[in-house]
Each structure stands twice: as structure tokens, then as C-alpha cells.
């Protein structure tokens, strides 16, 4: 499980060009990590690719923090 969290954080670091130390679970992509709307779309695309899952537009809208991303991925991999 922690592996998933690490992979998600790594993608966030790569996509948003931020320091790993900034990517806490509570971090909000837009407010804390400086993502714009296009960045968040690309982040979702990168997560889909990394984990081979599909994230619907509705689901993507609800993923605004690192923690939410990790939880969504965990849930979709379990399902």
C-alpha cells in the first residue's frame, strides 16, 4: 500500500515540478502545489497511465489532494 502512495507522490513531483518534501498527503494540488487546471488534467492522465486504470471526469474533479489521489488509486486497484 505504501508503495502506491510513493508512486503517486513521485508522479506528482514529476508532473508539477515540485519538491518531494512539498508533496504531503494533505497537500492540495492547486492551492499548495501551484497546479493550474491543465496541470490537474495531465496529472490525472499520468496516474491513469501509471496504474492502468481509468479515472472518469467526475471522479477526477473530486481528487484535489494527494491523499485523495492515493485513496482513489487504492480503491480502484482493489475493485
Amino acid at each position: 500500500m505504501s508503495n502506491i502512495a510513493e508512486r503517486v507522490k513521485k508522479i506528482v513531483v514529476e508532473q508539477l515540478g515540485v519538491e518531494a518534501s512539498q508533496v504531503t498527503e494533505e497537500a492540495n494540488f492547486v492551492e499548495d502545489l501551484g497546479a493550474d487546471s491543465l496541470d490537474t488534467v495531465e496529472l490525472v492522465m499520468a496516474l491513469e497511465e501509471e496504474f492502468g486504470c481509468e479515472i472518469s471526469d467526475d471522479a477526477a474533479e473530486k481528487i484535489v489532494t494527494v491523499k485523495q489521489a492515493i485513496e482513489f488509486i487504492k480503491k480502484s486497484l482493489d475493485g
Partner: protein, 245 residues
């Protein structure tokens, strides 16, 4: 544009066919999309003689599944899409009072909605690649208006606004979106005009002649090139002086 992968819609005839050939000459691998089954094969043969890896898909641009399949197969074969030329277009002319809803909807579907669909599909791979050149074929009448063509003109003006909006959305990803607006170009579409109308048009063109599809293809190729990377949201007029933007 050696080895760049370029999708051209409406590529079996008219301006689209010449654009496909021209991009091939510049080294691009071209994917032709058209709903004309025999002519698309003829066009492909012509393009492959120049750029052997080129491909063609018979697809109706108003069919979402057809477009999706074409994009999927393109990505499977080439792994990338660098250039998209949205060229497919039709006319269904009538004065507005006589224009049917079907004629309105058909023209908007082919000329404008297909561009929304296809552009949306290819944006993700372009965003990932941090590179893209999208060229939409508008028309001079999209900015001047033209009696009897309210549907066509609305679609062509729509492309200009669409292009500017998408240009703003994705400028930061090194993807440009521009229009080429041909004036009166010698193709089957303008052949259909009656001789009187043609004469009236010619008298208004300062250069005194219709343009050729090649004239348009050169403009498209420029906007599709790497060198045009700082130009976006622009409309390039190719009309012999008929209208100056």
C-alpha cells in the same frame, strides 16, 4: 517536418488532398481521413509515392466511433500525432428563409463539431509530447459573411473562435492552434458555383484570379512547421487580396 505524423481530414480531394501531398513532400508521414472510399485510396497511393509510411482511414468525420478508431490506429502505428489539419468541409447553400434545419445541422456537424471531436482526441497525446500543431481550415466568408451560406459561414467563423480558445488553453504546452482562411480556390466546391457568380467573385479579387490548392497548402505547411512555434490563435488569409484581416 521529417517524420512528423500529420492527420489531414477531407484528404481525398480538393485542398485536403493537396495539403496531404505537400506535407508528405516535406517529409511528414501523413494519415489521410476521408469518407470517399475510392478517392481516398487514390490519394493514399499518391501520398505513399512520396512518403511510403503514410496511412489512410475511411471515416466519416461526423461519426465519433470512426474518428476514435482512426486516432487509435494512428497512435498504434506511429505512437504520436504531431500535426492535425482539420480540413473536411461541405456546403449546403440556401438563403436562410429556405434553409432546412437538416442542411444547417449537417454543415455544422461536418465543418465544426467534427473539429471539436477530433481535436479533443488528439490533444492528450500532444500534451504528453509537449508538441503539437493544429491547423483548422476556415474560409474568407467566415469573416466577411456570404449570402446563401449562413450555415457554412457560421461553421467557418466558429472555427476561428474555437481555435483562439484552444490556443489559449494549451499555449503553455507548446501546442499551437491556427486557422488558414482560403478565399476562392479552384476546387470542386467552387466549380459548383454558377458562371455569373464566379465572374462576380473574380471581379472582386485584386489579383484577378482564383487561388490554387497549392497556395493554401503552403500556408498550412508553414503553420504546421516547427518554425511557426510562436504563432498561435492566428488566422492566415490566403485570398489574393479579396479580404485583408
Amino acid at each position: 517536418m521529417r517524420d512528423r505524423v500529420a492527420i489531414v481530414t477531407g484528404a481525398s480531394s480538393g485542398i485536403g488532398r493537396v495539403v496531404a501531398i505537400h506535407l508528405a513532400k516535406l517529409g511528414a508521414r501523413v494519415v489521410l481521413i476521408s469518407n470517399e472510399s475510392i478517392r481516398i485510396l487514390e490519394a493514399l497511393e499518391e501520398v505513399r509515392a512520396i512518403s511510403p509510411e503514410s496511412e489512410a482511414f475511411e471515416a466519416d468525420v461526423t461519426s465519433f466511433p470512426c474518428l476514435e478508431e482512426s486516432v487509435k490506429l494512428t497512435l498504434e502505428k506511429f505512437g504520436r500525432i504531431d500535426i492535425l489539419v482539420n480540413n473536411a468541409g461541405i456546403t449546403r447553400d440556401a438563403l436562410l428563409v429556405r434553409m432546412s434545419l437538416a442542411d444547417w445541422e449537417r454543415v455544422l456537424a461536418v465543418n465544426l463539431t467534427s473539429v471539436f471531436q477530433l481535436t479533443r482526441m488528439i490533444l492528450k497525446p500532444m500534451m504528453k509530447a509537449r508538441y503539437g500543431r493544429i491547423v483548422n481550415i476556415s474560409s474568407v466568408v467566415g469573416v466577411t459573411g456570404n449570402p446563401g451560406q449562413a450555415n457554412y459561414v457560421a461553421s467557418k467563423a466558429g472555427l476561428v473562435g474555437f481555435s483562439k480558445s484552444i490556443a489559449l488553453e494549451i499555449a503553455s504546452r507548446n501546442i499551437t492552434v491556427n486557422c488558414v482562411a482560403p478565399g476562392f480556390i479552384a476546387t470542386a466546391m467552387t466549380d459548383a458555383l454558377n458562371p455569373k457568380a464566379k465572374e462576380a467573385i473574380l471581379s472582386r479579387i485584386p489579383m484577378g484570379a482564383m487561388g490554387s490548392p497549392e497556395d493554401v497548402a503552403h500556408a498550412v505547411a508553414f503553420l504546421a512547421s516547427e518554425r511557426a512555434g510562436y504563432i498561435t490563435g492566428e488566422t492566415l488569409h490566403v485570398n489574393g487580396g479579396l479580404y485583408m484581416g
